[in-house]
Amino acid sequence: MFAVMKKEFKSYLLTPIGYIFIGLFLLMFSIFFYLSVFSSRVVNFEYLFYNGATILTFVTPVLTMRMFAEERRNGTEQLLLTSPRSITSVVLGKFFAAAIIMLITEAFTLMYYAILRYFGKPSILVAGTTLLGFFLLSLAYISFGMFASSITENQIVASVLTIGVFIAMWFLPDFNQIFSIFSLIYKFDNFPNGLINISEIVTFVSFTILFILLTIIILQRRKSIK
């Protein structure tokens, strides 16, 4: 798993992908920060992450679309899958590499905390729960993005599918409350209020595990239908 993770992480930093993801996220985050400072004059570090979740919905595919789609298109999938490494370790390696990039991005958002700290007294604990919730949400998003990348060799298709499903999960509860169980972004709502709800953590973690497993199954299944 570490071999794949190391290589994937390196690839994120050797190609513009990693920088584009981090840059795009921080740029949009800064715009929201700026807007809330100048429009409402009230800035709350935690509430910025509601915007963060919206940004994440659109930028996650930058990180995930190439994961398996590119390997498949270039044929390097053959190198991976004919090596003695198991499919599980390959999938986990790729997942954790993306998770590390996400963690780095999140670490960068601490600079907004530092700015606010300079002017006021934002709660470190609430900031902590927010960052935890946001990280869990991003893991769930990455796992779905990875799954989308594993079912196609076209990166555009993978990213459109990822964004489409995220948007559907976001707006479906407006039609019927039943859909709110599938809505990850709604599950995130309580974290910036300093609340850690077990059921929400379980939802994020199980969603993440589900799509990691589905990716493994897809790759395994393709061996027999390929």
Binding site: A3, T15, N74, G75, L79, S83, P84, R85, K226
Partner: protein
């Protein structure tokens, strides 16, 4: 050792590979020969565990790939078709990554990478990105990825395709040098290549194995006739009488008369025995000087064409049509059986009815007879 037993790979109704069997012993260099789309890559992908066969089993070094994929994959160095590489890695990084993927222990990794780079002649470009390399070098990098860690078995899918002649020779030499202490399976549709490198050839066509033999045997089996080209200095003009004297000769034709009056003939025989000795002896007796005599060798190409051409060529459409016709035939057969049964049932019913009617008739007749009898009795009684 690689054993492929009754392996079939099916995509829907289409057979990519159908019931193939072969064995590759340790240390052999085996060529996998076939036209494009014959099933070479599919078979190689199954041996390397990239895809699973629909039926059958593959055993590599005593392990079944289905049950022990890890143990099998550790023994194999695979160079896939089209030399896929990670464009954003340097040559050294790529080979190191392959070494890591192949579970080579950290301590041995550096040495293994160095050795693989050296033996493929990549020292000069080891710090270049793979995407910046020429086709020939990319092929070498792919090869380095396959040989790193010294696996016992090397599987090379079309390793020389798209290379210039010089690069082809270099790669070929490289493969030959690995063949000294590895088992090598190499696929190609270039016959001269197989002929030069391999000790054994497996010919595959339309997903089926049509021959497994040495290149020499395949060549020998290609033609039934032997052709001799002979140039003679024949002052007395008697060479053509040879046809009557040597019974084995079926055809003797003059091809060309040279400026120095020497003549070039082509001789065909029906038998495989070499008649060159008899010809020289007869020529000596007739005072004919042989300037040149050459036996035309059948090439592997001839053998291949013969093996492959003898087989009926069906397009997918034709195969579908055949399947369709077969199905129609089956349906018709069922229909016929059903009709027959129906007719039988009808007949049986008819017979039953006839039997019943006959019974009725008999009863009626019996009744009538009885009635008549009674009437007769009555009449007799009246008379009395």
């Amino acid at each position: 050792m690689i054993q492929v037993k009754n392996v079939t790979k099916k995509y829907g109704d289409f057979y990519a590979v159908r019931n193939i069997n072969f064995e590759i012993k340790d240390g052999e260099i085996v060529g996998f020969l076939g036209r494009n789309g014959a099933g070479k890559s599919t078979t190689m992908n199954m041996i390397t565990g990239f895809i699973e066969p629909t039926e059958g089993e593959i055993i590599v070094g005593g392990y079944n790939i289905d049950a022990n994929p890890k143990k099998v994959k550790r023994q194999i160095g695979y160079m896939p078709e089209g030399t896929p590489l990670y464009a954003d890695l340097t040559v050294k990084e790529f080979v190191s990554y392959m070494a890591e993927l192949k579970l080579i222990p950290r301590k041995e990794r550096k040495e293994a990478v160095k050795k693989a780079i050296e033996s493929t002649g990549l020292e000069k470009v080891q710090n270049n990105l793979t995407k910046s390399l020429s086709r020939g070098y990319k092929q070498r990098v792919s090869m380095a990825g396959a040989i790193v860690g010294n696996p016992q078995i090397l599987i090379l899918d079309e390793p020389t395709v798209g290379l210039d002649p010089k690069q082809v020779i270099e790669i070929r030499e490289l493969i030959k040098s690995f063949g000294k202490n590895h088992t090598v399976l190499i696929s190609s549709h270039i016959l001269s290549e197989i002929n030069q490198i391999c000790e054994k050839v497996i010919v595959i066509d339309k997903g089926e194995i049509v021959a497994v033999d040495t290149p020499e045997h395949l060549e020998a089996g290609a033609t039934e006739t032997t052709i001799l080209h002979i140039t003679v200095d024949d002052i007395n003009n008697v060479f053509e009488t040879l046809k009557d004297e040597i019974t084995e000769i079926t055809e003797l034709t003059l091809q060309k008369t040279n400026e120095d009056n020497s003549k070039e003939y082509e001789i065909k025989t029906n038998v495989k025995t070499d008649i060159r000795k008899i010809i020289s002896k007869t020529c000596a007796e007739k005072d004919i000087t042989i300037l040149e005599m050459r036996k035309e060798e059948a090439s592997l190409e001839d053998a291949f064409i013969k093996l492959v051409e003898d087989r009926p060529e069906y397009s997918q459409k034709e195969v579908k049509k055949m399947q369709y016709e077969k199905e129609i035939e089956e349906i018709r057969e069922e229909e016929r059986i059903r009709k027959e049964e129906k007719a039988n049932r009808k007949q049986a019913k008819k017979e039953e009815k006839a039997r019943k009617e006959a019974n009725k008739e008999m009863k009626k007749e019996a009744k009538q007879a009885k009635q008549k009898e009674q009437e007769n009795k009555k009449e007799k009684g009246g008379e009395a």
